[in-house]
Structure formats: structure tokens, C-alpha cells
């Protein structure tokens, strides 16, 4: 049991220690011949409240949804509330992280990373003798 309690710190996800409500945003990760494209759903996040960080091999996306308060209006029915988004991804050396591109449009963040040249599959011509 003591062992379990000691392990608890390690196994508990970091989200649980946050003071704000933090969501892990939905993502699509798609690989094509030349690049990998990550699309993340960050509703209500604008450029100012968005951080895309690449540290070593870890890409971290954090965003904060704009507060929706309307003056002279009272919230009478609610299915969502402003949250913080955070999610991290490990990116392998197969990708050229220096050429990472990120765009934000209609609440979707798209991050594309081209494959490093050495990782692009090359077709090798076989000579017949």
C-alpha cells in the first residue's frame, strides 16, 4: 500500500492538479507522404489566448476560451462554460520541427510538420545485371 501511495504521484495525470477546469481538446492526426498534420478543436480561443510550444520533442498546445459574459444579460441555460485547453504530444525525430507551421481558423488549430528529408521514403531503383 505504501508503495502504491508513493506511485500515486507518478500515475495521477497532471490535469488533476490544475486550479482551472482543463480540457484535453479533440484532435485529428493525419500523416501524408510528406508531412504530419495535427488538427485540434479549440473553440472560442483566439490568437492572443493560444500558445503552441515546442520544447525538445514535446509539442504542447494550451488555449483559453474567451469569457462569454454579456452585459445586461443573464445566463439562463448552459451546456458549456469557458475552459482551458491543454494537450501535449511527443514528436519523433522523423519530423523537421523547425519547419512547423500553425494556423488557427474557425476554432480549429492546424499544426503541420514536414517529414525530415532523411525520413521521406525513397524508391530505390533495382538494377538488373
Amino acid at each position: 500500500m505504501t508503495n502504491n501511495l508513493q506511485n500515486m504521484n507518478k500515475s495521477v495525470t497532471p490535469e488533476m492538479t490544475k486550479s482551472e477546469v482543463t480540457y484535453s481538446p479533440n484532435v485529428d492526426i493525419v500523416e501524408t507522404e510528406k508531412e504530419i498534420v495535427l488538427t485540434s478543436e479549440l473553440v472560442g480561443v483566439d490568437e492572443k489566448n493560444l500558445d503552441v510550444m515546442l520544447e525538445n520533442n514535446v509539442l504542447t498546445i494550451t488555449g483559453k476560451m474567451k469569457d462569454e459574459k454579456l452585459e445586461d444579460y443573464e445566463l439562463i441555460y448552459s451546456e458549456y462554460r469557458p475552459v482551458k485547453y491543454e494537450r501535449s504530444f511527443t514528436i519523433s525525430d522523423e519530423f523537421d520541427k523547425k519547419k512547423l507551421k500553425a494556423t488557427l481558423k474557425n476554432g480549429l488549430l492546424t499544426v503541420s510538420i514536414p517529414k525530415a528529408e532523411k525520413a521521406v521514403a525513397k524508391k530505390i531503383a533495382v538494377k538488373t545485371l
Partner: protein, 142 residues
């Protein structure tokens, strides 16, 4: 000598895994999430403001119709990915058509409705129709 095999997952690891699998399951199969956008409703003195989370929808593809007291929002979550050339590592974002219908407690002044779209949030301002507002009736005394 250990009572349990050290290689077996600990109780906490198992608990975490089960929790994660359950979350994945509910994320993928929750009907409301895939078919209808989540909304908030605000009441002001002249009417209501509805906000809806519609990420990834082109504002041009949004269709808002108001008939009497009923508001309907239709749209399409479009994916720009060429599925033939790409392989998915993860697919969590929903796709397809959605419809959400809402009945308001009053008639809407349709000509004065304003809708805006900003970073995935649709905001519709719907004022109450004058004909539907309560009227103060002056009482004559004799």
C-alpha cells in the same frame, strides 16, 4: 518475497487505465456531442442571445432559420483532409451534418435577428417581437 507479482499493474494504474478507457468511450459515443452543438442561452430585457460551439464549420455553411418561436441551426462539420492520400493516427473530431432546434418562450422579431461567428462560436441575438411583449394596461377609474 512479494505477495503480488511486481510486474502486475498496481491498483492505481488499473484505475487510471479504466478511467481513461471510459472517457474515450463516452467521448466517442456521446450522441449529443456528435449530432448537436452545445449551446448557452442568455436572457436580456429585449430578448435572448444564443451561443453555440461549432468548431470547424465554415460560417457560409451555417443555416439559421427562425419560424415563430422555433430556432433551427443547421451546419456541416467539414474535413479538409484528403482521405485517400492520408493515414489517420487519431480521429477524434466529429464530421458530418448537424441540426439543433430550440423552442423559445416568445416570438422572435425576425427582421432584427443578428448572427455573428467568431473562432468557432456562433452568437445569435434574437429580440422578442413587439407583438409578443407584455402590454401594460391602464386602468380607468370612475
Amino acid at each position: 518475497m512479494y505477495l503480488f507479482n511486481k510486474n502486475l499493474p498496481t491498483f492505481f494504474e488499473t484505475l487510471e487505465r479504466v478511467t481513461r478507457e471510459f472517457e474515450d468511450f463516452t467521448n466517442n459515443y456521446s450522441v449529443s456531442e456528435t449530432t448537436a452543438p452545445k449551446i448557452n442561452l442568455y436572457r436580456g430585457k429585449d430578448g435572448v442571445v444564443l451561443t453555440a460551439k461549432v468548431a470547424g464549420v465554415d460560417p457560409k455553411d451555417l443555416d439559421i432559420s427562425i419560424v415563430g418561436q422555433t430556432v433551427t441551426i443547421k451546419g456541416n462539420y467539414k474535413s479538409e483532409i484528403d482521405k485517400e492520400k492520408a493515414s489517420f493516427h487519431r480521429k477524434e473530431i466529429k464530421e458530418g451534418n448537424f441540426t439543433r432546434t430550440l423552442e423559445l418562450p416568445f416570438k422572435v422579431e425576425v427582421d432584427k435577428v443578428e448572427a455573428e461567428f467568431d473562432s468557432g462560436i456562433l452568437k445569435i441575438n434574437m429580440p422578442q417581437a413587439d407583438s409578443d411583449k407584455p402590454k401594460k394596461i391602464a386602468v380607468k377609474s370612475k
